[in-house]
């Protein structure tokens, strides 16, 4: 029963993405991030190794620090904004689906966007490496793995951003908090506390700005942290929706 309702909700949220302007964000922000990263790689030859790992470090430095979390926040804020407009709250909550399904369906829809974003980011990384930086060969397989790990780490960030955007009618505040969260995430990771901060998981997962694997041997705690934060934020959102009065 719950799974059926969840599937129906996921399809509904997915159809909201059709022809939406949020796809422009999906396209442009990784492009901007890739341009910064490649530019930095090309003009920092003294400090950055001239290989795919070096380029990955530069790409993900900007991407994980400034771009990915706000982009996830935009996805979440856009999807909730649809319900904040007019009286759509009454529409979605008078449907015969549990409120938690609504939250999980929005998470699924934003995850789909995040997954595509990671793929697009990786294609840009590859394209910039070959065409702009002129690197030989192909990127190591590990870079693909780190991009996929970034998608996994995006789930708790999306869950948190969905919670914030559900509570906050305004579009900008959750996005600004995400930007702040991304920067703080770097500080957490540099102090070894990356697993305890949702935005830090993104830095760890993507191995941002590092030449070695930050998560070597730490995959189970990383997965547990992702699952734990996701469960916490989704449960909080579901409980709040169940109890709130729709004014």
């Amino acid at each position: 029963m719950f799974l059926k309702a969840l599937w129906r909700s996921i399809r509904a949220e997915d159809s909201k993405l059709r022809g939406a302007r949020v796809w422009a964000v999906f396209f442009l922000i990784p492009l901007l991030s890739a341009a910064y990263g490649t530019f930095s790689f090309c003009y920092n030859s003294a400090t950055v190794t001239r290989d795919w790992n070096g380029l990955w470090g530069q790409h993900t430095l900007y991407y994980a620090l400034f771009f990915f979390a706000p982009m996830a926040a935009i996805y979440a804020a856009w999807l909730w904004r649809l319900e904040h407009l007019g009286h759509n709250w009454t529409l979605v909550l008078s449907m015969p689906v549990p409120p938690l399904c609504l939250v999980l369906a929005k998470l699924a829809a934003t995850f789909k966007l995040a997954l595509f974003t990671q793929m697009w980011m990786w294609l840009l990384f590859f394209g910039c490496g070959k065409l702009w930086a002129g690197l030989p060969g192909v990127p190591p397989a590990a870079c693909l793995l780190w991009a996929l790990r970034g998608a996994v780490a995006a789930v708790p960030v999306l869950a948190l951003q969905l919670l914030l955007s559900m509570l906050w009618r305004g579009f900008a505040p959750p996005v600004l908090l995400a930007l702040l969260g991304g920067v703080v995430g770097f500080l957490f990771v540099s102090n070894g506390w990356g697993l305890y901060w949702p935005y830090g998981l993104l830095v760890l997962g993507m191995n941002a700005n590092q030449g070695y694997d930050l998560l070597a041997g730490q995959a189970p705690p990383f997965a547990a942290a992702c699952a734990g934060f996701t469960f916490l934020f989704c449960a909080a959102a579901g409980a709040w929706l169940k109890r709130r009065d729709i004014a």
Binding site: S15, T90, V92, M95, P96, D245
Partner: protein, 309 residues
């Protein structure tokens, strides 16, 4: 007759402000029930309570033969269609896409979209983005969403709000044929009794969160008597009789008749006898019927508020 909606002592308070108090609503199966009251009377709050969108402070709700509880709510919602306040829609999607989305959530068949588009006469605009729709078209789309999945109960909150006279006329015609076309019980709210009196068979009049009248529309007319007009040969001789009956300040003269406020039948019979005995020459007694709008106004005025009607 069984009731599709029954509430018992339903109350909703926001801090010190009580929006709905002690509401005992009874909506019979198969009826078109007009829920009428001035703005701020508590109509929308009541409808949201019925849908479980807000939680009652006290009291109980029974819908479609089931107590409304967190456990039964989804089952009840699957048999209910609603349009609360202004219609909800996703402006970047077409009318058909909006309906497909809602049909999916309701678990309705995809072909139901075609049916409801036809009912609300939006078939030619099905492929247009809703952001380009007029208010009237959006209202019709809202009704179409409510109709998806063949609901047993339709809850429509002021569906004619913001429409021009032609739009109101069109919406009224649409709603009037709803029970016949869809077989659903309809609970519809408005702040204008005149707007609904042609299509409803039962009414509930709400003011300040309290139900002032509930029952068949015909009963509302009987419930409230009209003024009494007396045609007298010698009106001057009537004055002492009216004074002794306590009506001196309440009587007025209109077009050669003495007009009195609504009176109980026994009291009126005694008064006519006294006037005849005094030689006033009673040649005619008539009870003026009042329009439903006047009855509604008098009920809400008597409750201490004129309201916007």
């Amino acid at each position: 007759m069984q009731n599709v909606v029954m509430t018992s002592g339903l109350c909703k308070a926001y801090g010190s402000r009580t929006a709905v108090q002690g509401l005992d609503l009874c909506v019979p199966y198969g009826s078109v029930y007009g829920f009428i009251g001035p703005n701020g009377a508590g109509k929308t709050t009541t409808m949201k309570l019925l849908l479980g969108l807000i939680h009652p402070t006290s009291g109980s709700i029974r819908l479609l033969d089931e107590e409304l509880t967190p456990q039964s709510r989804l089952k009840i919602l699957s048999r209910t269609g609603s349009l609360i306040e202004s219609p909800s829609y996703y402006a970047h999607l077409t009318a058909a896409e909006n309906l497909q989305l809602v049909a999916g959530l309701k678990g309705a068949e995809a072909k139901d979209v075609v049916r409801v588009l036809d009912i609300v006469r939006l078939t030619p605009d099905a492929r247009r983005k809703v952001g380009q729709f007029s208010l009237g078209m959006r209202q019709r789309l809202g009704i179409a969403m409510a109709l998806l999945g063949w609901p047993t109960l339709l809850i429509l909150d002021e569906p004619t709000n913001g429409l021009d006279p032609a739009g109101i006329q069109e919406m009224r015609a649409l709603l009037a044929e709803m029970p016949r076309r869809c077989g659903a019980t309809v609970l519809i709210s408005s702040h204008l009794l005149s707007e609904l009196e042609q299509i409803v068979d039962h009414v509930g009049i709400l003011n300040k969160g309290r139900l002032l009248y509930q029952g068949p529309l015909a009963g509302l007319q009987q419930h409230s008597r009209g003024d009494v007009a007396l045609r007298l040969l010698h009106p001057a001789l009537a004055a002492p009789v009216l004074k002794s009956a306590g009506l001196a300040g309440l009587a007025r003269e209109e077009r050669g008749e003495v007009v009195l406020p609504p009176l109980k039948e026994a009291f009126l019979a005694d008064l006519v006898g006294s006037l005849a005995a005094a030689g006033a020459g009673v040649v005619g007694v008539s009870c003026r019927s009042r329009s439903l709008e006047e009855i509604f106004l008098s009920l809400t005025k008597a409750d201490g508020e004129t309201g916007v009607v």
